[in-house]
Symmetry: C2
Subunit: 333 residues, 2 copies
Amino acid sequence: MVTIQEISRITNFAPSTVSKALNGYPEISQKTREKILKVANELNYFPNATAKSLVKKKSNTIGVVFEVEYGLNNLFFSTILEAFRKQVEIKGYDILLLSNNTDNGLNYLNHCRSKQVDGVLIVSKGSNKDAINELLESELPVLSFDPEEEMKNSIYSESYFAIKKACRYLYNLGHKKIAFIQGDLTNYIGKTRYNSYMDFMIEIGNEPIVIKGLNNSLYTYEEGYKTMDMILQQFGLPDAVCSSSDLMALGAIAYLKDQGYKIPDDVSVIGFDDIKMCEIVHPKLSTIRQDYELIGKKACETIISMIENKITEFDPVIIDSELVIRDSCKRRR
Amino acid sequence: MVTIQEISRITNFAPSTVSKALNGYPEISQKTREKILKVANELNYFPNATAKSLVKKKSNTIGVVFEVEYGLNNLFFSTILEAFRKQVEIKGYDILLLSNNTDNGLNYLNHCRSKQVDGVLIVSKGSNKDAINELLESELPVLSFDPEEEMKNSIYSESYFAIKKACRYLYNLGHKKIAFIQGDLTNYIGKTRYNSYMDFMIEIGNEPIVIKGLNNSLYTYEEGYKTMDMILQQFGLPDAVCSSSDLMALGAIAYLKDQGYKIPDDVSVIGFDDIKMCEIVHPKLSTIRQDYELIGKKACETIISMIENKITEFDPVIIDSELVIRDSCKRRR
DNA sequence: CGTTTACACGAAATCGGTTTCGAATAGATT
DNA sequence: AATCTATTCGAAACCGATTTCGTGTAAACG
């Protein structure tokens, strides 16, 4: 690689002068700047980002935390990451996929510090909540898409009114027995959706149809399938199902189909997320759309603003979500 | 962050001694090593990876190149990346998502050099083939999952015999009019699948049913949908469809369903990839499975061996693929 | 013409590590 | 006791940038 010292030797200017010329310092005359730039271009010079990071204490890199099990291999999370990446790239940052290597003691936080990561986006977190909390409480700018109890430093889709809107929609189609498939009740989003459903059932004065004590922490197809099984056993066939994720909704539909029911003729089902699959399956899944592009964009803006203004705490960013009506819900006969 | 100099001050050993002690050099006595390690642990010392990279000229980071359009937002590619990541993590490397910023002249290669990336995995490439070729011809260890004409430095699933097996399977079910949905004919994989299909049709002495001149470069659902439309218009209804990707197969199925046909009763369809969705859709899609875990593992092994042994060229690594029979194909009535 | 001021550039320190090579010490050898 | 050897450690250079501060020169001023 071409270094500043090489340009220095060739142009007979000191390394410091070369550096200043390349970085647009005003104290360099037009003439010498041109000479230096000319040589730099001829040699195809690009600064060594490592050296730069070392002295500037800034790497132009944003770390991303991902659960191992259902990480990238999950359209929902990977869609967010992709949207985020697109924005981040524009701003001149790179994305480093972080690991939490407990073997060598290099947990998330130490890893971030070691690699001089400027900020961190937590897309999804697995079992290692301790390592995550260390991150959140550190001096680093951290943004979480998967907030815990307290909601600080987080970005997420509005869920409370969204679930109510979905339930209201089902109710207005004539459905009374509306079942709910919950997600991860240990995090804020999962809890909010659950509470919203419970509140709605109280409003309309119906008994909630939900499996108590169940925690579908991964929001997967398989969990949806099993939950639907339990619902049928415990409550019999509901009129409609409201699910905390599209994948679980699809799992529920699969179970119902396996039992010989028709969707939406026998049961209406609505999901949450609007992953790309919704339009591919049959019937096309009605759902609540999360605005991935906007989430990615806002997440990027927020985290870069945190980095540049050195803030480590801010109010949650809440992105509107929208009811998308397709073919999986039908008026009750 | 705690530095070596701090430990040096506290222990009264020179920085060089501290460094050696921490890195297990034999010339350090047991006594001083213990003293130094004790202090390092107490202060929760971790080496600054940036500084280390600078002097060692090795960052323990592997760059990953992804197409922007259909990058992470594609279960196929993200599954590979996830498998790769899992392996790479174990070996102590991080993954940096690379961008090709032509604005500031920081193309892939310069970006890699600047960030001191040790090796590169090309998962999918978009339109900027020049930037990719620069990478391939550089001094960096590069591994491509999406090889061009020449197949050097690549890893991919066996496709030629796989497509033949799929076609043979359809043929043995009694189908004569077997249509083919091609993928990207400008790259090796796409071409191989196409050629395999064409050879098979010659073998069985039937006319190929394929849209000439069509290039489905993104292997998407929408492309499959459109292609199926064109096939019906140009050739009428085939007995079976062999697709170069699952997503295109699903698109084709959707089109056929929209036209009122039943799958697999009227048309048998087989895909390629075995993305997770295959088991979720109805009917469950028969397909050719790519062994993602093995691809990830081999890719990791290969690239790390390239890095450690400083080889930049090697023969292609070919991963076996397997026919998976589900519900989307049926014996011809 | 002497002094001030602005401008342009360079020397040197720094970031946090690694590595080479030389020196001091302790122990072994004759 | 003198010499040799092995062991252990430290000084200093280095990786490739940035940044502070000082200096020399030319222009501007009285």
